[in-house]
Structure formats: C-alpha cells, structure tokens
Amino acid sequence: MTKSELIEILSQKQSQLAYKDVELAVKTMLDHMGTTLANGERIEIRGFGSFSLHYRPPRIGRNPKTGDSVELAAKYVPHFKPGKELRERVNESMERVEIQPG
C-alpha cells in the first residue's frame, strides 16, 4: 500500500471530507511525525507503536571506491517499536495470508 492508496481508502471511508482534505490531512500527519523526530522527540501511538531516535556513535568508515578511511560523525537514526496490538494482529495473520511481494 502506498501513500496515495492510503489516501484513497481514507477518503472513501470519510465521504464527508473532500479528497483534497484527506490528502492534506495525511501529509500534515506525516510531516508532524517527521518534525517531531527531527526535534529529537518521541512518537507514541497506543496499539500501533512508538518511534524514537537511536544514537550511533562516531566511527571510521571507508570510501568504497578509493578505500580511503573517513571519519563519520555520530548521528541519530529513527527507530520503530511495534505496539502490542500491531504485533499480535500481524503475527496472527501469518497462517492466513502470504506476504505480498513488492
């Protein structure tokens, strides 16, 4: 499912809202989530999961073309921990449906 397919489903289910409103709502939510993480704050959605930042210490990497070593600064990466309901629903679906390719 892509973002536009998600918008399509939501606008069918929220028929009192114009497609454009749903589209803007989805973009606003994703932007809000991205900004929250970029500010170093957590996202906690009960039954879905939580997003937080994980610290990656500085390390020496290599330029794969030249083999030269390069110092890579410490950074943060986004991390998602699925919530209980999502974990259970997905795990229970294993016997019912295959994972679709793509």
Binding site: M1, T2, K3, L6, I9, L10, K13, Q14, L17, D21, V22, L24, A25, V26, T28, M29, L30, H32, M33, G34, T35, T36, L37, A38, N39, G40, E41, R42, I43, E44, I45, R46, G47, F48, G49, F51, L53, Y55, A74, K75, Y76, V77, P78, H79, F80, P82, E85, L86, R87, R89, V90, N91, E92, S93, M94, V97, E98, I99, Q100, G102
Partner: protein, 100 residues
C-alpha cells in the same frame, strides 16, 4: 513530551479546520488502515517517511533470561520500519546530546 494521536488531531483541527470529531477520526483511521494493510500481508510505503515491511521469522533457539532455561522462540511474522532517505537526513541533523 511525546507526540500522540490527540496532539496530531489537535494539529489537524488548528491547521486544516477539520472539526474535532473529524480530526480525531482521521488520525485513528490513518493508523488503523496501516495496521489493516499489514495484517493482510501488504507492506506499506509512505514516501518521504518510510516503509513498514513484513518478515516471517523461523523458529529459533532462545533462553529465558531470568532462569537460563532453554525455550524455543516460535516462528512469527514481524513488522520492521525502514525510514526513508528524507526522514533519515532530517533526523541525522539532530544534534541533541545523547544519554547513556
């Protein structure tokens, strides 16, 4: 303070002029439809944010960390999140101090 559904709904109310009930419903449905897709075996790709992928894990040996007793970790399906380039770049720039 962490971002929650209530805070997201408040933003939609303030910025988009949805009424409070609509805003609350759309936030709820947004996460529910992602869960639905995943429990139907569909991976979810939200460009600019990231992908929620599914993986089937085989049974593997495990241990009860308290007792040391060996117990198998059963086969399971799990969700993994792969942040997109744009989100990774935004987060990488975060210069906050990390706590040990």
């Amino acid at each position: 303070m962490a971002l929650t559904k209530a805070v997201m709904a408040e933003r939609l109310f303030e910025e988009l002029g949805l009424n409070k009930r609509e805003a609350k419903e759309i936030v709820e449905m947004f996460f529910e439809e992602i869960r639905n897709a995943l429990e139907n075996g569909q991976q979810v790709k939200l460009s600019g944010f990231g992908n929620f992928d599914l993986r089937d894990k085989k049974q593997r040996p495990g241990r009860n960390p308290k007792t040391g007793e060996e117990i198998p970790i059963t086969a399971r399906r799990v969700v993994t999140f792969r942040p997109g380039q744009k989100l990774k770049a935004r987060v990488e720039a975060y210069a906050g101090t990390h706590q040990q």
